[in-house]
Amino acid sequence: MAARIHGGAGAGAATALSTFNPKKLVAPSRTNLPARSSKRCIVAAAGSDASKSLRVGHSQKLIANAAVATKAETSATTGTGHELLLFEALQEGLEEEMDRDPHVCVMGEDVGHYGGSYKVTKGLADKFGDLRVLDTPICENAFTGMGIGAAMTGLRPVIEGMNMGFLLLAFNQISNNCGMLHYTSGGQFTIPVVIRGPGGVGRQLGAEHSQRLESYFQSIPGIQMVACSTPYNAKGLMKAAIRSENPVILFEHVLLYNLKEKIPDEEYICNLEEAEMVRPGEHITILTYSRMRYHVMQAAKTLVNKGYDPEVIDIRSLKPFDLYTIGNSVKKTHRDVPTPYAGTLEEWTVVQPAQIVTAVEQLCQ
């Protein structure tokens, strides 16, 4: 099968659904899973496997300047590190950047005194005060616009959407102002905002709270989009996004917040435009990001047992795509399986590992 590389158009969601027929669902083990409160134990198993292969396979570099896409030296080995959960990694990244640059501030609903609905901003209000960690009323359109206006003067707000779906209310501000002001002003204004929030299918959160908006935002010029999937890249991408002069949308996932991993003690940033090689392989390239990474890695185990050697790339950077890494991989394997994410109904529209295995087998025939 000829290589298919995704362009920036975000058409992935549609193509994935057409490939998978829900009726052919094999062993949907998720239907037997307990309710939301125990999400921690479900994901951690996959998470620890993924992070093991992460350390073995990835070619990350610790760089000082996030916006430069250089291919340079390999990462420093993590001697002593410290273990933490993904939301703690995000918080660490945010706190370090707020310490480093007094222009960084956080705004969102319940980010201050409450500590953040997913605890990403816990403790920050006590440390930095109410002027830097701002509890906003429930008006996404207005406070996103305010963040953008503040950014025009040089502040670096981190705007939290309690759920990515709520950011649809601010779509006008994100698309027309955030994305375009740098261009329409002829370069006079930069908008160094970070818009972040969790999205995606959780545990029966309902249709409106389970949206992935990547494909909506893909068409907005002028913004960068990244998705984090491990505590390591969560912290790194958060820091890089804050330091970037461009508006960056950081997609998190509700179910990944409790992933545990050991991350380095020393400071590091991840490159915003780079993909991560999760598992090098020879036969087929599987592109994934965010939560699907774990499904893919589960599928990869099955595939390896069946004799395949899949290469798994966590694309991380959704806009712009890291075509260099992806291109090299596909040139090597000549086959790719994209697993973009579309969750409007729980469970049977979520791509399951078994489906991934089936797809790979079909492609490799």
Partner: protein, 395 residues
């Protein structure tokens, strides 16, 4: 520009409340540099909501009133020139003209500094000029030339001038209001003693984001001044058909408001001065400027389907801002009829020269299509419509 020297003839003062800085008639001075304070009463009283209205006596000077005249004449000329450029298809797309509303731009500038921020909607040509923008930059931007204030990439609705804290220039109705409150937030954050004037129209006054932003501004005590330029028509819909409560200065509810005669530059100046002091001490305030636009909503709108020509010419006769200032100058003997006419001729020439210069300016290079997409454009490749041509790496 050297004016002929005038003598101040104190017996010609008609308005009752001038200060008694009586100068002997034998002293001749340059009127343009005369900054002796004069006090003028505004014709229309202020209406206030939840605050005490400022005094109707406005402190000004001959130099200032003359500068009002010159600046407003320049703005008027610019808009008329833009009209004819649009009709000769040198300006395309949308073009929203401000003639009739000039008093707002000049009055506001007289009350504030260049470090106070202004943000407005798409009817931004004159506001840009008021902030110190050059005529030639304005015309170049309108015609999409490189010399334009946004390098030709913004157009009529996207004028910006960062060094003068003019933040544009926005096409989406009302979207600039949260941006403006964000500017005020940044001013408070940096502990600067400056304010932000966020301008919007009577049409935008019905946007939800206005009330959202006002709530936050009031909650966080931001130095934000929301100015409703009520020209009585939201494109083709009159205010009585779009607003249940057309008292826009009262719609802030818990936020104080002031209604101002927006065709009187001195009243505007007084209100903005008052608003700035208020905002720095007490947080946001809403100003409603009662004004009028002679042109239609934009160049595609004749402006006569929803209002009569008599109405337009009536306002022009009775309330025109430039004529009011002219009468003031003549009655206070600050300038003669002939001098004002000469000034208008000079302004006309200034505008014509700027248009000619702008016409000479080249269009942006094709490579400009891809600049300023990102800051330090991150090495992304950008394709043309069919993915085969125009492959460019954003650098």
């Amino acid at each position: 520009m050297a004016l002929s020297r005038l003598s101040l003839r104190s017996n010609r003062f008609l308005r009752p409340s001038t200060t008694a800085a009586a100068l002997p008639s034998s002293i001749r001075r340059h009127v343009s540099t005369d900054t002796t304070p004069i006090t003028i009463e505004t014709a229309v009283p202020f209406e206030s909501h939840l605050c005490d209205a400022p005094s109707r006596s406005v402190e000004t000077s001959s130099a200032e009133i003359l500068s009002f005249f010159r600046d407003m004449a320049r703005m008027r000329r610019m808009e008329i020139a833009a009209d004819s450029l649009y009709k000769s298809k040198l300006i395309r797309g949308f073009c929203h003209l401000y003639d009739g509303q000039e008093a707002l731009a000049v009055g506001m500038e007289a009350a504030i500094t260049r470090k106070d921020a202004i943000i407005t909607s798409y009817r931004d040509h004159c506001t840009f000029l008021g902030r110190g923008g050059e005529l030639v930059d304005a015309f170049s931007e309108l015609m999409g030339r490189k010399r334009g204030c946004s390098n030709g990439k913004g157009g009529s609705m996207h004028f910006y001038k960062k060094d003068a804290c003019f933040y544009g220039g926005h096409g989406i109705v009302g979207a600039q209001i949260p941006l403006g409150c964000g500017l005020a937030f940044a001013q408070k954050y940096s502990k600067e003693e400056f304010v932000t004037f966020t301008l919007y129209g009577d049409g935008a006054a019905n946007q939800g984001q206005l009330f959202e932003a006002l709530n936050i501004a009031a909650l966080w005590d931001l130095p934000a001044i929301l100015v409703c330029e009520n020209n009585h028509y939201g494109m083709g819909t009159a205010t009585w058909r779009s607003a249940k409560s057309p008292a826009y200065f009262k719609r802030g509810d818990y936020v104080p408001g002031l209604k101002v005669d927006g065709m009187d530059a001195l009243a505007v100046k007084q209100a903005c001065k008052f608003a700035k002091e208020h905002a720095l001490k007490n947080g946001p305030i809403v100003l409603e400027m009662d004004t009028y636009r002679y042109h239609g909503h934009s160049m595609s709108d004749p402006g006569s389907t929803y209002r009569t020509r008599d109405e337009v010419s009536g306002v022009r006769q009775v309330r025109d801002p430039i004529e009011r200032v002219r009468k003031l100058l003549l009655s206070h003997d600050i300038a003669t009829e002939k001098e004002l006419k000469d000034m208008e001729k000079e302004v006309r020439k200034e505008v014509d020269d700027a248009v000619a210069q702008a016409k000479e300016s080249p269009v942006p290079e094709p490579s400009e299509l891809f600049t300023n997409m990102y800051v330090k454009d991150c090495g992304v490749e950008s394709f043309g419509a069919d993915r085969k041509e125009l492959k460019v790496t954003l650098t």
